[in-house]
């Protein structure tokens, strides 16, 4: 073109066609219009794409983390804390590590280069190389600059108390969401909701201006439990020692604060470590004291007696003839372990006579007994705030046959959990009030629901003090410095429909008897050394735990602190329920 024009330049100018200029102007005008139109179109109508591209260059959406709240004990000691960790993951298709970097990565992760290669090759599209590493360790791995290796921020929950408190707290699963125990029950309270906001960033990536808050982050709230870490450890240690010494299958121990109804300690055996729970059997995770029921045996006798006293049918001094130590109802026979002869009502408790308790029960209408058991909290969940707690079984009075009413008098044919049992004893520890129980810290004393007249509660308390005296079934529950009241239980276990030679040994009591502060309930499932009476197996645990707990709490002594009187070995009054 240009060469042609230059050639023409030398020749005389030919006349231009007249229409040529208008055509050129027209084309230029059209082009201009198109440009203006296009720019108007982009500016006004179809501007979303450019707006997005523009804001992508100067604004960012920032994730605002919200961590899960802590669980603390009644004094603020942390029991569950979330702390940031990092996980490393890889895209197998992009993963490409030079041998030196791979070796260094393997060293950081504590594995071998071959193991990493194998893991990556075995995966299809996404593979975790290491989960929940300390952030510094993950940062060092990322600093190797391996292609296809990515990190991800997470939270991990730590439980400093480990196995001593795992049943109460439970644990969290992926994304720090509660899966068991209090972590599950209080998910809404503890869980944080991450938020995000949009900011303008400068070329270094620093935020220079807030544009909008998209979602406000909501941090998880802290939660204070009623548990006292020191008492919990004490309870756990003694329970563990007792389970091992008696070769028991399982055990439970509950310490209740009588004034406030708070559970100060709740220990279970077997247990697990929530910080390393990869291969723990579900069975060990059960909070047996709340989710399992057992037939309580003689620990229920005081309620039968209380119902009889309340109805006016008997007084503590009424004589009950328990000779010859058996009582036949229909085809079934009730036995006493030791023939007692004529006993007062108080001695029926002290010696734990089945025949005596059954005779007293049979003198009452079934409804009266049902009323007493039911208002003592049996047959309804204890409402501690723990998920999956059970109600136990208390059948309606209409369906009771006489033999059932007689056996229920000493705690067979009815099932309870350990916390229910401990709570029911608050009736005798207070002036006849059933206290509500809770696993959460409360602000002090709470009012209970009146169940018994105060003078009846005091009468039963005196009988329970006799039961732990040298003439009773549980002299081993005594402790120096404090007066104690309590009751043993030794129940045959049901296997299907038949009672077997396996036992649940228990002791429930409270101290100091002059002004009770704590109810402590101990239960050992299937002691396996041949010794199985509650007075021999559970009562010593009660004495150790309660004595130490009262001293820790600074409760003044109400009895001499020198030696306690134990009867000679072998003279312990035995019982069989």
């Amino acid at each position: 073109m240009r060469a042609a024009a230059m050639q023409r330049g030398r020749a005389p100018l030919p006349a231009l066609p007249r229409f040529r200029a208008p055509i050129v102007y027209g084309i230029l005008a059209l082009a201009l219009t198109a440009l203006v139109g296009r720019s108007l179109w982009l500016q006004r109508v179809d501007n979303q794409f450019l707006q997005d591209q523009g804001s992508a260059r100067y604004s960012r959406e920032i994730e605002l983390a919200a961590h899960r709240g802590q669980i603390v004990d009644r004094f603020g000691e942390p029991l569950a804390i979330s702390t940031p960790v990092k996980s490393l993951w890889a895209f197998p298709s992009h993963f490409d590590a030079p041998p030196a970097a791979l070796a260094e990565l393997a060293r950081l992760l504590g594995t071998s280069p071959d193991a990493i290669t194998k893991k990556v090759e075995a995966a299809d599209d996404f593979v975790y190389l290491a989960k929940q590493l300390p952030p510094e360790q993950a940062d060092r791995a990322m600093a190797l600059g391996i292609n296809g290796l990515h990190d991800q921020n997470e939270y991990r929950r730590y439980y400093p108390a480990g196995e001593t408190m795992s049943h109460i707290l439970g644990f969290t699963g992926d994304h720090d969401v509660g899966q068991e125990g209090i972590e599950l029950a209080q998910q809404d309270w503890l869980g944080g909701k991450p938020g995000s906001r949009r900011v303008i960033v400068n070329r270094r990536g620093d935020a220079v201006e807030d544009v909008e808050a998209i979602r406000a982050p909501q941090a998880g709230r802290d939660l204070a439990l009623s548990i006292d870490t020191r008492l919990q450890y004490l309870a756990f240690r003694e329970l563990k020692a007792a389970v091992e010494a008696n070769k028991a299958k399982a055990g439970g121990l509950v310490i209740l604060d009588i004034a406030s109804g708070e559970i100060l300690a709740l220990a279970n055996w077997p247990t697990y470590n929530p910080n390393a729970r990869n291969k723990v059997a579900r069975e060990k995770m059960r909070n047996r004291a709340l989710t399992d029921v057992f037939e309580p045996g003689s620990t229920l006798k005081p309620f039968t007696i209380a119902a009889a006293l309340e109805s006016g049918k008997v007084t503590p001094d009424t004589i009950i003839q328990t000779a010859p130590g058996t009582l036949t109802i229909g085809t079934a026979t009730i036995h006493d372990a030791h023939k007692g002869g004529a006993l007062t009502v108080a001695q029926v408790i002290q010696k734990s006579s089945n025949v005596g308790a059954a005779k007293i029960a049979l003198s009452l209408p079934a409804e009266t007994m049902w009323e007493m058991f039911s208002s003592s909290g049996f047959g309804t969940p204890p409402k501690t705030g723990f998920p999956g707690e059970v109600a136990g079984r208390l059948r309606p009075a209409k369906t009771w046959r006489p033999i059932e009413q007689a056996t229920m008098a000493y705690g067979h044919g009815i099932s309870v959990n350990l916390v229910q049992l401990a709570r029911a004893y608050t009736i005798f520890a207070t002036g006849g009030e059933l206290k509500p129980v809770t696993l959460f810290k409360t602000s002090g004393a709470v009012a209970g629901r009146p169940v018994l007249r105060p003078e009846i509660a005091m009468e039963v308390r005196r009988m329970l003090e006799m039961a732990v005296s040298p003439g009773g079934t549980a002299p081993k529950a005594q402790m120096p410095g404090y007066r104690v009241a309590g009751k043993t239980g030794t129940a045959h276990k049901l296997d299907g429909r038949a009672y077997t030679a396996k036992y649940v040994s228990s002791f429930v009591g409270f101290a100091p008897a002059s002004a009770p502060r704590l109810v402590v309930a101990v239960m050992l499932d299937e002691p396996g050394t041949g010794v199985y009476y509650g007075g021999d197996v559970a009562a010593p645990v009660f004495a150790t735990v309660t004595g130490a707990a009262l001293r820790m709490l600074g409760v003044p002594f109400d009895a001499p602190t020198d030696a306690i009187v134990l009867p000679p070995p072998g003279a312990v009054a035995e019982e069989e329920t």
Partner: protein, 90 residues
């Protein structure tokens, strides 16, 4: 008239410049604020980790082990405990 306009122009320029400076200042402050907030979050995380560490060290099980094994401490026998009534303490 011209003078007034010139004066207004000068004022306008001063205002415009001060707007630019204050905008710049505000962004700088905002960056500082962001940094401080990030540090606060980091401290919070560290505080949590320290709390965790402290409570791990202070677990009764560990204290008891040290008291028994290293410091050779033990519980006194019952006969060696004397109770002092609260009133006599003074």
């Amino acid at each position: 008239m011209v003078r007034v306009n010139l004066l207004l122009l000068v004022i306008l320029i001063v205002c415009a410049l001060s707007l630019v400076t204050s905008r710049h200042q505000s962004r700088k402050f905002f960056v500082d604020l962001e940094h401080e907030q990030a540090r606060a979050r980091a401290y919070e995380t560290e505080y949590g980790q320290l709390q965790l560490e402290q409570s791990t060290w202070a677990m009764p099980a560990r204290i008891e082990k040290i008291a028994r094994n290293e410091l050779k401490m033990r519980l006194p026998e019952h006969g060696r405990i004397a109770a002092v009534p609260a009133g006599d303490a003074k």
